[in-house]
Symmetry: C2
Subunit: 585 residues, 2 copies
């Protein structure tokens, strides 16, 4: 049997053709005289028919096959009877009358049903990942991933970028997240580190004059895992020379526009909204706001700064703030007890409490209403655009706590009340990021992004006097409330890089020991450069409409960084350890 | 200054245009009144001209710049005088009269000249890799690498392959080469291994029903390095289901044909020559023969098996063999002393000696001539197609020693006498590989390729009686004497895989512990499958006409697996080791 045809491509135009199909038994219905087998391959499914009239021999074999057997069949494509047409599948108008069948391989009964709506623990799915991946939803996700990969590549190739491969066995640097280490056999007591990102290498490629670099780079972080983290992940890594921030943002927008069109058939409007970090925090309580819906935070500090309600007034007096948000028209869905219980939610984010007021025709109603003058109440209503039936929430605290709490509450309420149009893809840029973050514990500043980020020229004079106020030439791309990627212009002059390391509390010797080669490189004609990197797994998750990052990775690790299939990590021979000059503690 | 133009794209059609260029100072010639600066960017070089008539200010700045400074200039494109046209560069007919120049970054004097023909140790080149990579030959190599990458991808995408990413943190298996290990922090005493290849994962992707997989996969082997080995390397990794060996070879040939055309402009003839392993050894003494020239080995065992020359006769009697080769027309270039000295070369390959005979009009001349009858001498001449002036070499030993020695001698002589047309690209397949190799030391058989290789059906009956004679459904692609890649059909039935592990001396428990998940997978409807993998770095080396694998990798390691630039590997904090539950020995 030769010249295989793909099952999913068959249609009425193939009527009367003799075809050879190879694939898996998706389903088998035995009606005694006649057996139907739905045959699946990578292209789809087709119904095949066995009966004694066509081939007694084939019918006997068909009787013995079971789900997930691998078979090869020869048969004739025929139109189905009007009343057996199946509009749910692409090949539903035809079926294949089988004259020959050969079993290529048998299959045990799979430990779970290979359908999209399975109810089985993720550990079992991962243990039998090769079966889990046969499910249509998984097949479609990885086809989409492939398509997105090629779409992005084609764009970058057209823009004259070079795809380049940076090393995986690199040098460990204590800055940033925890490295995965790789002991050296040749150099006793020495270790490589797996890259957390190709950051320094891509900058060196700019110093090397390549000007336009990209890579689908595997990156590694040995951090405690959350639902949306994996020990290894893929990053679309981009770096350019001689391009301004506007150039980079514009290029990114064109790239995203192309991918969204090619992969999802969606026309995305460009340019994307650009929002300074401070504004994002004030309006959405988040540096990655989901702007598919409103319910924005409103600052009420000015209204309450002289209020008789001490909690609010003192928050402002102590350098904190008070903000509120308005859940439109849902006041009647919340009992006083419901609302009191929401304090527990607020506490997760460090708030001491969550105040609320219901809006009624007569005025604001609720336990704290009495503390506010009519003028103050009117201002609440006006600023929060409140009408009868609305429910207002307030947090008074340190700025970050107010933002975190109301930002989280905004998302929670939007989900609960289905305020988000899930079919929408809303991109936006967050700009004007702080360059440095003060670390109370360590008593020093940390790089908010990484130590190679270029400060804004207009803020340079504040580097010594008010480091926390210096903004960076950095930008994040946000999609539907997820940070899709981020980047910055980089420092390209040694003098400024020295100064930055000094601000970050590095001694000259420490900077030299860890980043000496980069500092050296900056002295040999480093061009102005900058770039961006995107979390590719997460992007695929959003494009595929999935909610679990692991569904976008072929062989992911569990939350405890294990692979239930291979059982990695695993113990190794003592001989292997000896060769690496290591002992277990 | 806006709208940058690329220097290397300027030509006479741009005459009178005002352009903005950004790049590096390649060369500066100061003639006092006038200064010439060759400005380089990723596209090429253009000559720029500074004089006081155009801009006094620009002239002053031009006076201060040095090699490798990064500058931005504005100027007018003008035709050069007839006598100053430089045909050596693409932009040689024009130059740019500079009205403005801005220094974007200064540069120290580079530690070596950034030209193609540098005479500097590789360690220094690697330490300043960001400068080394600025050299034109390096820039061209990585542009070629990019181009080859995209050409291969486009081919595979067109053939409906999916690009898929397999994990880097995997399970250590003692089979094969030495693994690089990655200690787990979460699971005390447990380790991941970096993949030596994605072999098992790609097979599982076939079990998962994807049917056509590819990846540019980073692979890792902790072996002692040779000139053409790196601890990490890139492999074009391909696997397919339901394809025959012929299908896979044909697809590969079409891929190679396309790449050679697109990257080198060369039309490669397909189908490629296919040669069984045994024939390659007999004719070329190599399993990766360079077939760009002849000088083939000729078996003379039948001629000498009853010879009075004991050394030859006994080699055959003891199960070994005698072969010879003919260096045409070069006999007069070798003195008796030269020829005696060549014995040392033969000894490298385990041969006890290297016999020779010069062909003269009168007959064969040399120390061993007297041992052979006229009939034997005539047969030598006839089989080796010898004429007066030729020089014949002979080795009598165990088969492998004969092949190794004469195979190496053949290459050495071809290089010394320039018998190889270096502009040629000669592909060929080696097929019919032995499935198993007997390991004298371990007293058992090893998989010649890997334990998942499918035996030839016609040899299956020999698996028990004569395992060494069983051939594999395996194939290597050879280009110009280099192994470019190899692959095989895989075992897809558990029963046969069990049998194979047994043959390889695995107990049931060992097989289960190491490969249990693969064995399980074979029981759930594994399709017939097979694939191939290519050493991409080496392929680029051949395409770029380089001889050093490190010149095809952006940031390679030295022979002692170090990076002189980052100084990886390096010591790490004791805190890092403690977190990994490790102590140095």
């Amino acid at each position: 049997m030769k010249n295989r045809t793909l099952a999913g491509t068959l249609s009425k135009k193939d009527e009367k053709k003799e075809v050879v199909l190879k694939g898996w038994v998706q389903k088998r219905r035995d009606l005694g005289e006649i057996i139907f087998i739905d045959l699946r391959d990578r292209s789809g499914v087709v119904q095949t028919v066995f009966n004694a009239e066509i081939s007694k021999e084939a019918l006997v074999i068909a009787d013995s096959v079971r789900s997930e057997y691998v078979v090869e069949i020869k048969g004739e494509v025929v139109e189905r009877d009007e009343d057996t047409i199946n509009p749910k599948i692409a090949t539903g108008e035809i079926e294949v009358l089988v004259s020959e069948i050969k079993i290529l391989n048998a299959s045990l009964n799979p430990p779970f049903s290979l359908t999209d709506d399975i109810d089985v623990s993720e550990d079992i799915r991962l243990k039998y990942r090769y079966l889990d991946l046969r499910r249509e939803v998984m097949q479609e996700t990885f086809k989409l991933r492939h398509k997105a990969t090629q779409s992005i590549r084609a764009f970058l190739n057209d823009e004259s970028f070079l795809e380049m491969e940076t090393p995986m066995l690199t040098k460990s640097t204590p800055e940033g997240a925890r490295d995965y280490l790789v002991p050296s056999r040749v150099h006793e007591g020495y270790f490589y580190a797996l890259p957390q990102s190709p950051q320094i290498f891509k900058q060196l490629l700019m110093v090397a004059g390549f000007e336009k670099y990209y890579q689908f780079a595997r990156c590694f972080r040995d951090e405690d895992l959350r639902a949306d983290r994996q020990p290894e992940f893929t990053q679309i890594d981009i770096e350019t020379s001689f391009m301004s921030m506007d150039d980079i943002l514009d290029m990114t927008e064109r790239m995203m526009k192309k991918v969204m069109k090619e992969v999802k058939g969606i026309d995305v409007q460009t340019p994307f909204l650009r929002m300074p970090y401070d504004e994002a925090m004030e309006r959405f309580g988040s540096d990655k706001p989901d702007v598919r819906f409103g319910m924005e935070l409103v600052s009420l500090s000015d209204v309450v700064k002289e209020s008789s309600f001490k909690v609010f007034r003192e928050a402002v007096e102590n350098g904190g703030k008070v903000s509120g948000l308005n859940l439109k028209g849902k006041a009647d869905q919340y009992s006083r007890k419901d609302l009191d219980n929401m304090t527990d939610f607020a506490k997760i984010y460090g708030a001491k409490g969550l105040a609320w007021l219901k809006v009624e025709e007569e005025g604001l109603v609720g336990p704290i209403a009495k503390f506010f003058s009519e003028e103050e109440q009117n201002q609440f209503r006006s600023l929060l655009e409140a009408e009868a039936g609305d429910l207002l929430f307030f947090v008074a605290d340190k700025k970050q706590v107010v933002f975190d709490t109301l930002g989280a509450l905004r998302l929670k309420l939007a989900k609960e009340h289905h305020l988000i149009d899930e079919s929408k893809y809303e991109f936006l840029w967050i700009t004007d990021w702080p360059l440095l973050e003060y670390d109370e514990e360590a008593g020093r500043y940390h790089a908010a992004h990484h130590p190679f980020t270029m400060p804004m020229e207009s803020d340079l004079d504040k580097l010594d006097t008010d480091p926390g106020a210096v903004r960076a030439q950095a930008y994040d791309l946000v999609l539907n409330g997820y940070e899709l990627g981020g980047g910055s212009l980089r420092i390209y002059q040694r003098e400024m890089q020295n100064q930055m390391f000094e601000k970050l509390g590095f001694t000259k010797e420490e900077a030299e020991a860890q980043f000496g080669f980069l500092l050296d490189a900056l002295e040999y004609g480093a061009p102005p450069h900058g770039g961006i990197a995107f979390g590719f797994d997460r992007f695929i998750m959003l494009l595929a409409g999935r909610t679990n990052l692991r569904d976008t990775i072929l062989f992911p690790k569990t939350a405890s960084a294990q692979d239930p299939m291979t059982e990695a990590p695993s113990p190794v021979d003592i001989k292997q350890l000896n060769e690496l000059h290591l002992k277990l503690n």
